[in-house]
Amino acid sequence: MLNGLRIPMPTREGLYFVSVLLFVMGGAVARELNLLIVLAGMMIGPLVFHARMVLLALRRLSVSRRLPRRIQAGESLHVRIGIANGRRQLGAWLLRARDRITYRNGQGDGGIPPTAVDVAVPLVEPAGETWVSYRAHLTRRGLYEFGPITVSTRFPLGLLECSRRFDARQELIVCPRLGRMTAEWDRLTQGGPTGTQAALARQGLTEDEFHGLREWRPGDSRRWVHWRTSARLSTLSVKQFERKRHRSLALLLDLRMPARPTETDRVRLELVVSIAATALTDIARQGLARVTLAIAGARPGCWSGAASPRFVDELIDRLAAVEGGSGATLAEAARMLVERWPGGAPGVVLSTRPMPADAFGSVNRSAPAELFGGAAGTAVEARRLDRVTWIDAGRRDLDRFFQWSHGPVDRA
C-alpha cells in the first residue's frame, strides 16, 4: 500500500478471465501449442496494461468534499465530492468514489454499521477537476463522520480493481428535528406558573426599543412627543416603543432511559430533545434573554448564557449528541441548574418520564424540590425548584406546548 493505493485485484469477471487464461496456458504447455501461447500472451497483455492503467488512474488524484457543518435531522443533504487529476496527459475514466458515513451519537457508533455510498465519476480530465454529488437523508440527530473516501476504478476492462483511500474525514452535526412551540408554552415560559407575567417590572425607557411614530393620543406622555416630526407634519406625533421582554428560561432535560429502552422510551427521548431544541431556537430568535440548560443524561452538564444565536447553536450541537442515562444524574444536573439560574426565569423540566410523585400530575403544578435529591442548597434555590414545571414527553396533551410542523405530536 502506497499512500492508500492498493494493488490491483481481480474482480469476479477477472477471476473468470484468469481461469480461462490458466486453461489456455495449461493447454499450451501440455500440448506445446505455440498459437495457444500467442493467445495467452494476448490475454495477459491486456491484464498487464489494465493493471497499469488502474494504477495510473489513481496515482495523482486528490479528493475533497463539500459539506455543511450542520443540518437538521430529516433534511436532505447534498454532498459534493471533487476529484482532481494531477496528471497532464492521462485522464481518469469511470471512477467510483465510495464515501463512508458513520453515525456516532456520542458514545461510539451506537451499534449502527457505517453506510457506504457509491458515486460514479465518468471522467476526470487531465489536469482537471470533476465534481459529483450525492444526496443523503440523515434521519437521526447526532454526530456523523464522513470519510474516508475510497476511490476505485476498474477501467477499462472491468477485470481488475484498484482502489485508493483518501482520509478526507469530516464531521457533520445533525441537529434534532424542530417543531414549533405553542402559545401555551409561551405563556408558561413568560408568565411562569405563579404569575411571573405580573412580576415583570416595567423597565426604564432606555431598555425599550424604538418601534415607530404615531399620532398623539390622549394620555400619551409629553416626553414621547417627537417634536421635529410634529413640526414637519403640523400634527403631534409621538414615539412608540416596544417593550423588550426578558424571556429568560431555566431548562432541565431529564433524559432517563431504562437499561433496556423500548422504542417508546427512545421516542420520548427524541421528543424531549426536539422540544428543547425548538424552545431554544425560539428564544434565540427573540433574543436578549438568558438561558440555562441543564442535561441529566448519560453525562450531566449545564450551560448558561445570553441566548444569542451562537450560544443557542452550541446548545443545539450538544443536544444533537446527547444520550439518555440512568437518571442518576438528575440531582447533579439540578444542582448545576440552580447555581446558574437566571434571575426571575421560569424553570421547566422536560422529561422522558412522568413526574414520580402522584400529586403533581397537572401541568402548572410545580415539582417539589425534594425530587431533585436536595439539589437546592438555599431557600431561594428551593423556592426556584418548587416552581419548576415538569413536562413529561409521554403525556397526552403534549401538543399543547409543542407541535411538529406538519401537525400535532403523535403520542409515543
Binding site: 480461462v20 506445446e32 501449442l33 495457444l36 471522467l123 437523508h137
Partner: protein, 825 residues
C-alpha cells in the same frame, strides 16, 4: 427522500435509459460479432464453413426477436436445462473421436451454448458469459489453425473483445447506478409510507444515501479522442507484449507447432504410383507444398536465384502400366527401408546446401536435389531408398498432426548457380555399408522394359530420329535428339485439358503410342512417358521422375516456393561410366561411376498465365510474411529458442530433475507409475466406452480435483486479498497498522520485552507494567495503560483519535521510552 417521480428526475432517468439503450445495442452487436468471428475462426481451421453461418443466422434472429422485439426471452431455468441437455449426447460422441474431431465437437457444443444464451434476456452476466464462450471458441480455433491470417483475425478479435469488455463494464456501471437509485427510491417510498409512525420518523434507518443518475456529468465527454487513442495504444502495446511474451516463455519440449487439422492433407503426388488423371488434379491445385532456400555449404552465405530451372526430385518411376480402361500408371519399386546417405566429398567444387520447409502431408516422401548428401541440419532419421528413388522421413504420429517438416540436404549438382543435367549415381548399400556408384544388372533391366508391340509408331519414330541425327554412339546426343523432337512446339502441344485428348484418342492404342503417333497433346507426364519409352526403344535405360520444377522465387526472403501446380515429370537417362561426358559435369561424378542424365521433353505451356506484377509482388510479400510466421512463431521450440539466442530454455536442461539426488527417484517412480498404471487404465476406459466403472472412477477423481482446485483457488484468492489489503487473516492477527502502538512495541523490544504470538496486547502491557512497578515507574504504568486503552479503542472500536488525544498518546509513549531508557538493561 428520493421520489424518483418528479418531472426532472424522471426525465433525466429516461434520458439515461435512452443513452444506455444505445450503449447496450452496441454491446449486443459487438457480442454477436465476436461470437460469429470466433465461430468463423473455428471454421477456418476445419476448412469448411459450418458453425459461423449457423451462428450468424441464430444470433441475428435472437437480436431481433429477443433483444429488439423481446418476443422470446428464454427463462434462466430453460437455458440451464438446454445447456446441460446438449452436453451428455455430445460427451458420448466426444469420446469416440480423435483429437481433431473432438475439437470440432467442442466447437459444436460452444456454438449451441452461445446460440441458447443469445435467446436469453441480456444482463451483464449473460454478456460476460457470451464473451467467455467466444473466447473459448477462439481457444479451439487456435488449436485448429496455423496461418498468419488467423493471427491477423486474432488481433481483430482481440480489439473487439477489449471493446466489448469496456462496453460491458460501462453498461454494468450504469445498471448498478440505476439499481442503487431505484433501491434508494424504494427505500424512500417505504420510509415515507411508514413515516406516519412517529417512531419511524425519529428512529428509522439513520442514513439513506444515493447518487442520482441525473447528477452525472455529461457522459458523452467520456468517449473523447484521448480514450480512443489510449485504447488503440493499449491494443498495440498488447501486441508488442504478446510478441515479447511469446518468445520469452520457455519451451519445455522439442516440439513446435502441432496444428490438429481435420481437413485432408494436401496430396503432393509423391506416392508409389502416379496416374495421369491424378497428375491432372495435382497440376490444377495451387496449394503450397514447400519452400526452399539455397546457400553456400562452405560459407553459409545465401545464394540468390538460380540461373536456370530448378528440378526437385520426388520419386523415380521405372514401371509403365496401362489398365484395361486405358489409364496409364507409372509405378516405382516397392518401398524398401532405405539407407542413410553419405556426406559430400571434401573435393566437391561447389557444394550447395538446400534448406527445405515441407508443408504438412500424410505422405512421408520428401523431395531433394538429385544425388542428395547429408551434412549439418540433415535429420539423422532421413533415409534414401535407392530402388524407389525417394527420400523418406520416418512415419510417425507427427505426420497425422500436420507438422511442417524442416530438413537440409547437400548437393554438388550446381555449377555457377545452374543445376547440372548430369548427376552421379550414388547409392548407399545397407548390407555392405558401402557406397555404390553404378546400377546393378537387374535394375538396368527394369529400366529397359519395353513392349514393342504396344508402341510400334513410337519405336519407329525414335529409330528414325536417331538415324536422322546420326547419334548412334552417344547416349546424350540420342537422348537430346528425342527430347528435342517432343519439345517441338510446332508438333506437340502442352495441355491440361484431358477431355480434349479423350475426344481425339484412339482407344485401341496405348495412350502414349496414341500421343506420339496421333494427337500430340498432353501434359508433362505424357511427354516424359513418351521420351522414356522412346529411349528404351533404342536401348537406353530410362525412367520417369516426378517432382517439382521451377518454383517461384521470392526475392524478399531469398527462397523458392513450390506449389502443387509446380509438379512436373521428366526423364532420367542412365549413362554408363564410359558415357559420362567430360568437362564441367565430370567433376560431380566419381571416377568409374555411372550417372543420370536429365531430359525434359515438355514444351512450355501455351496458356501459361502470367499475373500482374503488382499482384505477384503482393503474393510474395504475403508468402514471406507467412514464412516468417512459420519460422518464428509456429516452429518456435526449445531448440530454436536456444539457436535464436533468446536463452537456454528449461527444455535444454531436461533431465535435471531426474538427476536430482532425492527428487530424482521419486520423480522417476511417479513417471513410471503414470505410464504403467494410469495410461493403460485410461486407454482401457476409452476403449470400452464412457459408461462403465472406469468412467465412474475418472469422473470421481475429476470431481475431487475440481473441488480441490476450487478450494485452493478460493483460499489463494482470500489469502491474496488479505495479504494485500490487510483486512483478512493477516489483518485479524496483526490488525491495521497503528503507528503509536508499533512504536511502543519497538521501544519495549529494544529493551528486551517482546510480545509473544500467543499474548494479547493487554497481557503484554500487564507484563511490562509489572516490571515497571518493580522499578517504581508508576507514571509509566499509567502511560502504558493509556496507550493500551487507546490502542484497543482504535483497533477494535474503530475509533479515531482526535489531535489532542494523539498528542497525549505520543506523550505517553515518550514517557514510556524515557522510563525504559532509565532502567538498567
Amino acid at each position: 427522500m428520493p421520489n424518483g417521480g418528479t418531472g426532472s428526475n424522471m426525465e433525466s432517468t429516461m434520458h439515461q435509459r435512452t443513452e444506455t439503450d444505445g450503449l447496450e445495442r452496441m454491446l449486443q452487436l459487438l457480442t454477436i460479432g465476436l461470437a460469429v468471428l470466433s465461430a468463423f475462426l473455428v471454421d477456418w481451421g476445419r476448412g469448411r464453413a459450418a458453425f459461423s453461418p449457423a451462428l450468424l443466422v441464430t444470433s441475428l434472429t435472437a437480436f431481433y426477436v429477443t433483444d429488439t422485439r423481446r418476443w422470446i426471452q428464454l427463462p434462466r431455468a430453460v437455458v440451464g436445462i438446454l445447456t446441460l441437455g446438449v452436453v451428455f449426447p455430445m460427451a458420448q460422441g466426444f469420446l469416440r473421436y480423435d483429437t481433431a474431431a473432438q475439437l470440432t465437437e467442442i466447437g459444436r457444443l460452444l456454438t449451441v451454448w452461445i446460440s441458447v444464451f443469445f435467446f436469453q434476456a441480456k444482463s451483464p452476466r449473460i454478456y460476460g458469459s457470451l464473451i467467455v464462450l467466444s473466447l473459448l471458441m477462439v481457444v479451439v480455433a487456435s488449436i485448429l489453425n496455423d496461418g498468419l491470417v488467423f493471427a491477423l483475425l486474432l488481433i481483430v478479435f482481440q480489439f473487439g473483445g477489449l471493446l466489448s469488455l469496456i462496453l460491458l463494464y460501462v453498461h454494468s456501471g450504469q445498471i448498478a447506478l440505476r439499481s442503487r437509485f431505484a433501491a434508494a427510491v424504494g427505500a424512500g417510498r417505504a420510509g415515507a409510507d411508514r413515516a406516519s409512525r412517529l417512531a419511524d420518523r425519529l428512529l428509522g434507518k439513520p442514513i439513506l444515501a444515493y447518487q442520482e443518475p441525473s447528477s452525472l456529468p455529461d457522459r458523452g465527454r467520456m468517449w473523447d479522442r484521448g480514450l480512443i487513442v489510449h485504447l488503440l495504444g493499449m491494443v498495440c502495446a498488447t501486441i508488442v507484449f504478446t510478441a515479447a511474451f511469446f518468445f520469452a516463455v520457455p519451451r519445455i519440449g522439442a516440439g513446435g507447432w502441432r496444428a490438429m487439422r481435420e481437413r485432408p492433407h494436401p496430396s503432393v503426388g509423391l506416392g508409389s504410383a502416379i496416374e495421369f488423371r491424378q497428375f491432372e488434379k495435382i497440376l490444377s491445385n495451387d496449394e503450397l507444398v514447400l519452400r526452399l532456400a539455397f546457400s553456400d555449404a562452405r560459407t553459409g552465405a545465401p545464394l540468390p536465384a538460380m540461373l536456370g530451372p530448378v528440378y526437385l526430385q520426388g520419386r523415380a518411376l521405372p514401371f509403365y502400366d496401362v489398365d484395361a480402361r486405358g489409364h496409364v500408371t507409372w509405378r516405382s519399386y516397392s518401398h524398401g527401408e532405405g539407407a542413410a546417405f553419405s556426406e559430400l566429398p571434401r573435393s566437391t567444387a561447389e557444394p550447395v546446401r538446400t534448406d527445405f520447409l515441407f508443408e504438412p502431408t500424410g505422405d512421408p516422401s520428401l523431395v531433394f536435389i538429385s544425388a542428395p548428401a547429408s551434412g549439418p541440419g540433415t535429420p539423422g532419421d532421413l533415409r534414401y531408398d535407392r530402388h524407389s528413388g525417394r527420400l523418406v522421413r520416418p512415419r510417425s504420429d507427427d505426420l497425422s498432426m500436420g507438422t511442417p517438416y524442416r530438413y537440409s540436404l547437400y548437393s554438388d549438382g550446381f555449377r555457377s548457380r545452374s543445376q547440372m543435367p548430369v548427376m552421379p549415381v550414388r547409392n548407399h548399400n545397407r548390407r555392405t555399408g558401402e557406397t555404390e556408384y553404378q546400377l546393378g544388372p537387374q535394375e538396368k533391366a527394369g529400366l529397359l522394359e519395353f513392349d514393342r508391340a504396344r508402341f510400334p509408331r513410337l519405336a519407329q519414330t525414335a529409330r528414325a530420329l536417331i538415324e536422322e541425327g546420326r547419334t548412334e554412339t552417344n547416349r546424350i546426343f540420342k537422348g537430346r535428339a528425342l527430347q528435342n523432337h517432343l519439345k517441338d512446339a510446332r508438333v506437340f502441344h502442352y495441355t491440361l485439358d484431358l477431355e480434349s485428348i479423350e475426344a481425339v484418342r484412339h482407344p485401341e492404342l496405348d495412350p502414349i503410342e496414341d500421343f506420339v503417333a496421333n494427337h500430340h497433346t498432353g501434359h508433362c507426364a505424357y511427354f516424359a512417358s513418351a521420351l522414356a519409352m522412346m529411349l528404351r526403344s533404342v536401348g537406353i535405360p530410362a525412367r520417369v521422375v516426378i517432382g517439382f520444377l521451377d518454383g517461384e522465387y521470392n526475392g524478399l526472403g531469398n527462397y523458392y516456393q513450390f506449389r502443387q501446380n509446380d509438379a512436373h515429370a521428366w526423364v532420367e537417362m542412365y549413362l554408363e561410366p564410359d558415357q559420362v561426358p567430360e568437362g564441367p559435369t565430370a567433376a560431380a561424378v566419381s571416377p568409374g561411376g555411372a550417372a543420370w542424365y536429365r531430359l525434359d521433353p515438355t514444351p512450355p505451356a501455351d496458356d501459361a498465365l502470367v499475373g500482374a506484377e503488382g499482384a505477384r509482388n503482393i503474393d510474395k510479400l504475403l508468402d514471406f510474411a507467412q514464412l516468417l510466421w512459420k519460422d518464428y512463431v509456429l516452429d518456435m521450440n526449445a531448440a530454436r529458442q536456444n539457436a535464436s539466442g533468446i536463452f537456454s530454455p528449461p527444455g535444454e536442461r531436461a533431465g535435471l530433475l531426474e538427476r536430482t539426488p532425492f527428487l530424482g527417484p521419486v520423480w522417476s517412480a511417479m513417471r513410471s507409475w503414470w505410464k504403467e498404471r494410469i495410461v493403460p487404465f485410461l486407454a482401457a476406459w476409452r476403449r470400452e466406452g464412457f459408461w462403465n466403472w472406469r468412467g465412474g472412477v475418472v469422473a470421481s477423481v475429476l470431481a475431487a480435483l475440481v473441488f480441490a482446485l476450487a478450494a485452493a483457488a478460493r483460499f489463494a484468492a482470500r489469502s491474496g486479498r488479505a495479504f494485500w489489503s490487510g483486512d483478512g487473516r493477516r489483518g485479524r492477527a496483526a490488525g491495521p497498522r497503528i503507528e503509536f502502538y508499533e512504536r511502543l512495541e519497538r521501544i519495549l523490544r529494544h529493551h528486551g520485552w517482546v510480545r509473544r504470538p500467543t499474548q494479547t496486547q493487554r497481557e503484554f502491557a500487564r507484563e511490562a507494567s509489572a516490571a515497571f512497578h518493580e522499578g517504581h515507574g508508576d507514571a509509566s504504568v499509567d502511560a502504558l495503560r493509556r496507550i493500551i486503552d487507546a490502542f484497543y479503542r482504535v483497533r477494535f472500536g474503530g475509533a479515531t483519535l482526535s489531535d489532542t488525544e494523539s498528542r497525549e498518546i505520543d506523550g505517553a509513549v515518550d514517557s514510556v521510552r524515557a522510563h525504559v531508557a532509565s532502567r538498567p538493561r
